[in-house]
Amino acid sequence: MTIHNLYKETMSALLANKSRSGLTVLGIVIGIASVIIMLAVGTGASNSITSSVSGLGSNLLTVSPGASRGPGSQVSGASGSSQSLTRDDAAAIQEKVSGVKNVSAEVNSQQQVVAKSANTNVSIVGVTSIYPIVHNVSMQEGSFISDKDVTRLARVAVLGPTVSDDLFGVGAEAIGQTVRIKGQDFTVVGITTAKGGSGFQNPDDTVYVPITAAQQMITGNQYVSSISVEVDSVNDLTSVQNGITDLLMKRHHITDTANKDFNILNQQSLSSSLSSITTILTYLLAAIASISLLVGGIGIMNMMLTTVTERTKEIGLRKAIGAKRRDISLQFLAESIALTFTGGIVGVVIGWGVAHIITLTGLLTTSVTAYSVILSVGVSVLIGLVFGYFPARRAAALNPIEALRYE
């Protein structure tokens, strides 16, 4: 049988029962569309997490205090709870470790910030003038904390745009106004440019003050919460990390690495472990969606088996007038593949459309990849082949004499 005639036979058979064919295809459409949507949402989420992590700077090392542990005690406290890092440590890292570009010592604290008529609970970061370079912060208005502000313990503050809007209202002039933090008045000298939420810490919802002022007036000690180290080249991350570990252990008189009182976080390893989590999540979603694809495939098989029974007489006739087993099985396989292929194409279009609508709502920027489209269409054809095989074989094996007698 020629391809052209196979196509003709397939079309006329499927169009003979439009509503049944349509409903069967619907099962595949739903399956493929949900796989496409799930993959698009998963890929979109993965992209957004990866980009927000890399927005933090991929050549950054973050040194944070380790778990607090009393002398001789086997019980360790929460990680980061110990007070072990100082600005001197930061200065030493800048000076003695090679491959280091910039070092920013930071003090973090969650505080209530009060303006005349409003107040908000935000993250307060005590910073030095190097902070905007290390963390890619730019100014929308005014200026950032200067070296002078740090040495003079100046009571000045730079607000994130969200804080400014919350305290003074959208569009209101904030520079020159006063905010009160832990009973101290700070003058607003600048507003940072909006960066967008990064998931873990929102730089727009942050207040920056000089590190010295933060230590004296807010935390009340000389320790720092973290030291951000910008490395010259991404390739040096590991060697710099080892250099810092050696230096700080020496400075803190620690000989055993198991007892070290600080941790160094590598942004790159964070980014790769996060993206592996989202990848697993994406596949999990797709696996759940493919259950509906399996159900759709069973629907195809069910319809094809019914069709074979209904058309027993026709199969008998075809065999009597010269159709070989191969001709019959080819015809039924073609029908089932035509169904699933159509379902696959329609499902991709609908899935793409829904993914696009999700993007338009602004919830998440979904991403339909060529890979997921090819995969879905390929899988739909495969389903046709697998679930059509058994009915087709049954049809081909029919004895023409018995098939012709079938009523």
Binding site: H4, N5, I321, G322, K324, D327
Partner: protein, 241 residues
């Protein structure tokens, strides 16, 4: 040319073994119009299946145009049916919701013929079967009983078979339409020299053939020339209703 030599057909095994054919031999020359007649259970259907290459005998030989097809496999039998046999069934078995043309050319789809020849051959077959030209592209479910049977005849002619096997072709028809069908057979037999084997249990219908083979209990009871041959008037045979 059909030559069957001592063919038997046995169904089942052991105690439940039944012999449908107990050694049948005869020859049908090209251009003959033979009726195989017998009551139900006589083995005539089994014989028809073997002659039509739908089944193989348990023993004996069957030479179709000099080729022994009695030991052929499923696929080889399909090939032979496609080349040498034309079937007309009691219930016609046209594809529903499909045009007359498509129904007639269906056997060619499974042949080695090139697609260009399909319609030419189908048109020639429809003309030979006396099917009205203005309905060639109508759907098969829009036809009258007589027209349906003419489509079935045209379909059996389309592959230029060595033999046309007609299995109770008038069983589902009223006597007038039955006459039209038998008249068409007689005309094809005379004008085109088609070899026709007619299987029937009705003695009236068998009288249209030039030779009648009586079968009973799997044996040939009688094989003789039909001296009381009924002839259909040409006008009836050409009635297209």
């Amino acid at each position: 040319m059909i030559e069957v030599k001592n063919i038997t057909k046995t169904y089942g095994q052991g105690d439940s073994e039944t012999k449908a054919l107990e050694g049948i031999s005869f020859t049908v020359k090209d251009g003959e119009f033979v009726a195989i007649m017998g009551p139900s259970g006589s083995g005539k259907s089994t014989l028809m299946h073997i002659l039509g290459c739908l089944d193989t005998p348990t023993s004996g030989t069957y030479l179709l145009d000099g080729q022994d097809v009695s030991k052929f496999s499923d696929n080889e039998l399909s090939e032979i049916r496609s080349q040498k046999i034309g079937f007309i069934f009691q219930s016609f078995n046209l594809l529903p919701r499909t045009t007359v043309m498509r129904n007639v050319l269906l056997p060619l789809v499974y042949s080695a013929l090139s697609e260009k020849e399909y319609e030419l051959r189908a048109k020639a077959a429809l003309l030979a079967a006396g099917f009205p030209e203005n309905r060639w592209y109508h759907k098969s479910n829009e036809l009258s009983g007589g027209q349906i049977q003419r489509v079935a005849i045209a379909r059996s002619l389309v592959n230029n078979p060595s033999v046309i096997m007609a299995d109770e072709p008038t069983g589902n028809l009223d006597s007038k339409t039955g006459d039209i069908v038998m008249g068409t057979f007689q005309r094809l037999n005379e004008e085109k020299g088609s070899t026709i084997i007619l299987i029937t249990h009705e003695p009236d219908i068998a009288l249209y053939a030039d030779r009648i083979i009586h079968i009973k209990d799997g044996n040939i009871l009688e094989d003789k020339k039909n001296n009381n041959r009924r002839l259909i008037h040409r006008d009836i045979a050409n009635d297209n209703t």
